[in-house]
Symmetry: C2
Subunit: 192 residues, 2 copies
Amino acid sequence: MIETAGTKLPTTSYAVLGMLSFGQELSGYDLMKAIESSVGFFWSPAKSQVYAELRRLVAAGYATEREVTQETRPDKRLYVITPAGEEALGAWLTEDDPEPEAFRSTFLMRLFFGHRMSQEQVTRQVRAFRAYNEAMLARFRGIEQQIREQAPQQLHDYPHLTLTYGIAHSEAILDWCDQTLKELGKKKGGKG
Amino acid sequence: MIETAGTKLPTTSYAVLGMLSFGQELSGYDLMKAIESSVGFFWSPAKSQVYAELRRLVAAGYATEREVTQETRPDKRLYVITPAGEEALGAWLTEDDPEPEAFRSTFLMRLFFGHRMSQEQVTRQVRAFRAYNEAMLARFRGIEQQIREQAPQQLHDYPHLTLTYGIAHSEAILDWCDQTLKELGKKKGGKG
DNA sequence: GTCATCATGTAATCTGTTACATGATTTC
DNA sequence: GAAATCATGTAACAGATTACATGATGAC
């Protein structure tokens, strides 16, 4: 309360707050694990950043911290979201004009500067990119299959929508790759 | 040469180097402008970062700097890529296993935490996202149209491939949005 | 004439990453 | 029994953003 309540937090803070919003008491380590296998697909902070945000959340009154002494493992701190934290999360989620998506792609950068590669090298880059996306797609499909088998009710929740996004996205990219590889096959020439 | 030649540079450095690789002598300001309307769609550094990278490139021997005194405008420094710079760029472009794409989306994060919004609010977020992507698509199509009319030979160069990517990508996202909005229409309930 | 934008950048700050630590289990 | 991984984090550093400056020109 005394602290920075009301101030805008960095996005990673909301990722952490969101994870806590499912109601469990978690350590930094727990959170990191949870993030890696879920939101991590579209927001993946370093663990030191997660710890930093936890400190910030506590300072802001959005989470409470409880120290737990352990014998066989290093001591840990467990965190719980507070009502103020839930409110702050809600406000961020429903913001009227959210930050524009900051799309970044080093692959597209390389492609853009293709004039500095031989055509074979460009082709190789596209193939590698294709393979990467194919692997991602397989992964997404695997997860979906698993849900279908083990927790089909989850097919109707919000996290699942992000999965369908990943699938649609990957499929579209693969199509583009195939078409692009065809195009590249047609024309001859380039730097090398 | 004496400096850090051979060291791995941050991605933004390669963005700048790539821009210089088209052969023109450019100022930091020029570069920023050029980036904004091209690679900026998938790699958009802050201008102060561009200036910082230019200093680094010079220190590494990848670019040379020339000061130009102006009367009516602030003085400026112009940069040219060196052969060593071209080589470094080439090495980066053709790297065998490039950094994995770091996909980030705050929209997907919000959606993932949809349980903390009412269903209407989720719907509103998806609609806003749809509108954003529709605007991007229109922009891409506009650019393509302009090329078609004013410089049709560019339809066959590498930058144009990144444009086709943007278009394919946006279209796929719009489809996903429509489908998702339908799904959301079906079920009733949610937080609020 | 006032306000926005051009044409240059620099300084201060903050976000985020990589490297460092460490003892206990599990795996082979 | 050595090597990898689990279970915790912290410290040091680098990358990136936002805020600050400033005089000239163009738009209205």
